[in-house]
Symmetry: C2
Subunit: 354 residues, 2 copies
């Protein structure tokens, strides 16, 4: 007697058709060893006939509670994960950690705040890694609502109530500036990242102190720690806020180099900006590092493989991702904050001052 179903077969259908309880069918698929072979094979045969391919994860999920996947959220379009060098390197570390634990990876994004809210609220994950490159505050706020473990990366405002992994920006920046001082440079320019959202242009020290993004502020402090100690008048060091893109970086360079005494050393808060600066200077006939030395920040792979390799302060990007996953999966829900070390990678964009 073949029963024809008007829908896809469920566990219960198989149970009824095979004349056993639902629990037994469940065991056949999940713990086959506890079911008598005869019964097991019979159930399997019936399941096959009904086109039942195994328990639907949607059902299991509710009972089990665990999704076995981590969500990586960012306030950028999804392709950010595959195009931005920093994100890509970070995802390498995250991927490895997830592979090791057999966890899946869900990419979560939103361009507008409505979509972001919905995506974060409904993502089927066991925890979140927040890429707070931009709009970090809001991302944290939304995620908090979910009441799932999460770790913030590159978060501007350090909040002691949430887990985070990062680097010591101030110390990294200090080392960067010290490197250039050691090479004899005395005239500097700082190509900064955003202090507040969507603003670019020259900034004053007061604006630096009022920064929303403490990452940028800390780095300025770090640069100035070294410059000040070397007796350089930091009030005369130009700081230009960029949006980490070509247009604003070019504007920053024009601002600094169309002057009587242009800098001989550029302190850049990202490798991206540093690479753009290098191209711009060369196009203007200035030699790097002959006439101008450039140091970046981040340590993205592109910096090392560029036509002219970039000296930079490397962050252990992949490790940051890895630690984030570990904290979520094994942190036991406790708040953890980790500061990983940076490293000065001296390559071919810095040289002795003339």
């Amino acid at each position: 007697m073949a029963v024809v179903l008007d829908r896809v077969a469920r566990l219960a259908d198989v149970a009824k058709a095979a004349g056993v309880s639902q629990g037994t069918v469940s065991n056949v698929f999940n713990r086959p060893e506890v079911v008598r072979e005869e019964v097991r094979e019979h159930v399997r045969a019936v399941a096959k006939k009904l086109g039942f391919r195994g328990p639907d994860p949607k059902g299991r999920l509710l009972r089990a509670g665990k999704v076995n996947a981590i969500g990586i959220a960012v306030a950028e379009p999804l392709d950010y994960f595959f195009t931005d060098p920093f994100a890509r390197e970070l995802m390498r570390g995250i991927s490895d950690a997830c592979d090791d634990r057999g966890a899946g990876l869900s990419l979560i994004s939103a361009l507008n705040s409505d979509g972001l809210a919905w995506n974060v609220q409904n993502a089927l994950v066991d925890g979140f890694v927040l890429l707070c490159i931009e709009g970090g505050e809001r991302l944290v706020e939304l995620t908090r609502e979910r009441q799932l473990p999460f770790v913030a990366l590159a978060l501007g405002k350090p909040d002691p109530s949430i887990s985070a992994v990062g680097v010591d920006d101030r110390e990294g920046a200090r080392v960067a500036a010290q490197h250039l001082i050691d090479l004899g440079h005395r005239r500097f320019g700082i190509l900064a990242l955003e202090f507040v959202d969507d603003r670019s242009g020259p900034v004053t020290m007061a604006e630096v102190e009022a920064a929303v993004y403490s990452t940028s502020r800390d780095r300025v402090h770090g640069y100035f720690d070294a410059l000040g100690a070397a007796g350089i008048d930091t009030r005369r060091v130009p700081i230009y806020e960029t949006l980490n893109d070509e247009a604003t970086t070019h504007a920053a360079l024009a601002f600094m180099f169309d002057t009587q005494e242009p800098p001989t050393a550029l302190l850049c808060m990202s490798d991206r900006v540093a690479l753009i600066a290098m191209d711009w200077l060369k196009a203007r006939g200035l030699e790097v590092p002959g006439q101008v030395s450039i140091i970046g920040f981040d340590g993205i792979p592109e910096g090392a493989t560029a036509a002219q390799p970039l000296t930079t302060i490397s962050q252990p990007i992949a490790d940051i991702g890895k630690r984030a996953i570990e904290i979520i999966l094994e942190g036991g829900g406790k708040v953890r904050r980790e500061i990983l070390p940076t490293r000065l990678d001296i390559r071919a964009s810095t040289a002795k001052a003339i």
Copy 2:
């Protein structure tokens, strides 16, 4: 009277505490406009007091059935998505398509077959895109079990029963060879991808015809279509199977160039292999394209931005990803097969034969 729960609050708890039905609480969060303002605010207040932050997606999922996410599966480690140029470019297209539709993205992988099976069987997704670069057959088999819509990309064996998006490999290869013939070349070498799993070395035409991966076979046919028409004895054109890595590509080059009459033109089945070949030749003091012309296949961004830009047959990689998503989300479950056009991108690795 404050009720204290020993667990996280649920919809039902809020309903009871607020003295309304569960359905009303559900409406407050999902269709607030149908609930009287007074009730709505009251429920919200109670929810807040109980620490209920909104309906749990795990519960909603079961009822709604839709996850609103697409799974991208590959038989490689997860970091493949972020390190392999082809995969990255593909994911760009997929990301855009998902962003447009507000769909999420789940990355699914496995190193060993057990893990792969589990991940594919349990992924919470509405459909799959299969990257059949390697182990495609098995991936298709596993996915079929899930009874969810899926699209295969770069699948070796064309199976008319499954949806797929790809390019006309034979025609693309023909155009590649024709380009070199037009430049006057008469001595060719073919650096092939795998015909069967994990094998490398020189292959005979019989082995080509017996290929598991029809992509590689079709490309050989395409190359030979052009070479044969130009009156070149294809039996004397060496074909070397590589694993798309440095070691086997170097072996292939040694095999071809340690001969009396080395080729003046290399037909490579991937840009990766082509770039490796270019480096190898230069390291041996051979000029590209002065002494040897090289043409790739794929059109990865690295080929265009390389120190010496690579001539290649470009696949519309991002478009392939985009179409795959569209087929899953809007295909209505019907089987669809699409062949997208390739394009000859002439850059700096091919030149007139001497």
